[in-house]
Symmetry: D2
Subunit: 159 residues, 4 copies
């Protein structure tokens, strides 16, 4: 888990397990360097730190668009997990985590507004609708100053 | 460059330089492990090999959706480079490569149809329209047997 | 139904009912003037004729982008209906038609490549994947000469 | 123009001309029944009233998804016009209106969250970035109670 524990609306057990899945078990999230910073009832936030491997344009020292799309996809999925976790608060953490096995991205759109240049970025995803089969999310990718660099939307299969 | 040189419609100089930019200079493409296999007049192909870091779902040994979206975005950009390279065949390779400095993704959509499970994947992008300011592409992500796993579309700024 | 019956792989009853739903019962499709021209096992085609009400740019006599997005959305849905109809060929037409009640668009992307100027246009949609819950489609909008004017992709809820 | 004049940050001449172009000259917007309700510096709002022709699902009395996608596309374009109008406030209205001739949608995504059932709907679009060549917008479609029914994002060519 990230050095400072994330802001969370969930019990410690669930929070710890969710962050571990997201930051450790999903290997590619580790390559991206995603660190969860907030788990809300229907939203999630994470940070990404710039590293040489994440560069997309050597000349301009710009983050690769693929890092951004991968981050927004991953974070949308995490937000859906918080929404499912919130809807089933009556279940034990283990039972709720079990529900995430079926989660999968149906489709994703990313709009690149401004070049991602900087040392640290912040991403936020919120669930617009959680249905019994499909969830829809909206995502934002910002620089350290909170300037909007990219936006995204995605649909996820939830069962 | 990949061990076997790519199928190409361009002169050796241009092909070598383009592959080097794509496979080496764009650092994150190296993380993805993209290897160019074809450069056509308005299209490009590459392969990606499965590696533990690229996993998205630990239980199912499935490739992370972010690897796919990043690959399709990168490959769409490469296809636009071939289209620009083709349109300006009267220019020296260096002059044509110079034109790629302004290339940037405007937006991207990816549809995930089937889980990406396997050892080697193939991606293809083709340019549907190259304008003076904007280019549009369509992309496909397939397994080794040619089964369609994901599709994408993207718009790129070209000047 | 259109003056000439559509090319179809389905029995007459099913074809007639499906065209009637699509062309008559879905009121807005009538405003668009959609005429079914083909029903395949996993694909559908229709034509749209230019009319003054469908104009988007008065100066250029160009078809409104919204006519194109609406047409592609409707046609993607029709293609999903053919795929469902094909999967349940053992059922009576009425039972299969009943299945379409739950159909709904999850999301849609349209890429506008070239202005739609002309008297008659053709749209085609094919199903890339029909799951038990979600279907994905790919669509094309062409002029009378078969030139690609717009492309689309969409996801549909099927149950 | 709509019966009640729209809330606006622009001079009367420009506002009147812009509403006339949007509501009258773009024929298909008239079919949709779009009425401008607000013109801000980088955003626009309009209403749509339900009519039998706009129905998409006869059984459920639901608005056709194509009406929503067409509305969001049109409104995103209007928001880009306000942003261009705002950037060139030093120019006469006629000169600014001239700039809209080159405006065209590059691509559009719409997410359908909840069925559009009701008598009156409201749509809002805001410009996330206005570049010299391309603009990006984000759109929302709501019912009379302000509940979010659909969201959209689009890219527009501006020169």
């Amino acid at each position: 888990m990230s050095s400072t524990p994330p802001r969370t609306v969930f019990e410690a057990d669930f929070t710890t397990a969710l962050c571990q899945i997201f930051e450790e078990h999903i290997s590619f999230n580790k390559v991206l360097g995603l660190q969860v910073t907030a788990l809300e009832a229907q939203a999630a936030e994470a940070t990404v730190a710039m590293r040489p491997e994440l560069i997309g344009h050597f000349a301009h020292h710009r983050m690769h668009g693929g890092v951004i799309s991968a981050t927004l996809d991953a974070l949308g999925g995490l937000a859906v997990m918080t929404a499912i976790g919130d809807r089933h608060r009556d279940e034990l953490p283990a039972a709720r985590l079990q529900r995430f096995n079926k989660l999968g991205t149906i489709d994703l759109r990313v709009d690149y507004l401004r070049p991602a240049i900087g040392e640290r970025f912040r991403a936020r995803a919120e669930v617009l609708r959680l249905g019994s089969r499909v969830a829809s999310t909206r995502m934002e990718f910002m620089d350290a100053q909170g300037r909007l660099l990219s936006t995204g939307s995605a649909a996820y299969m939830v069962s």
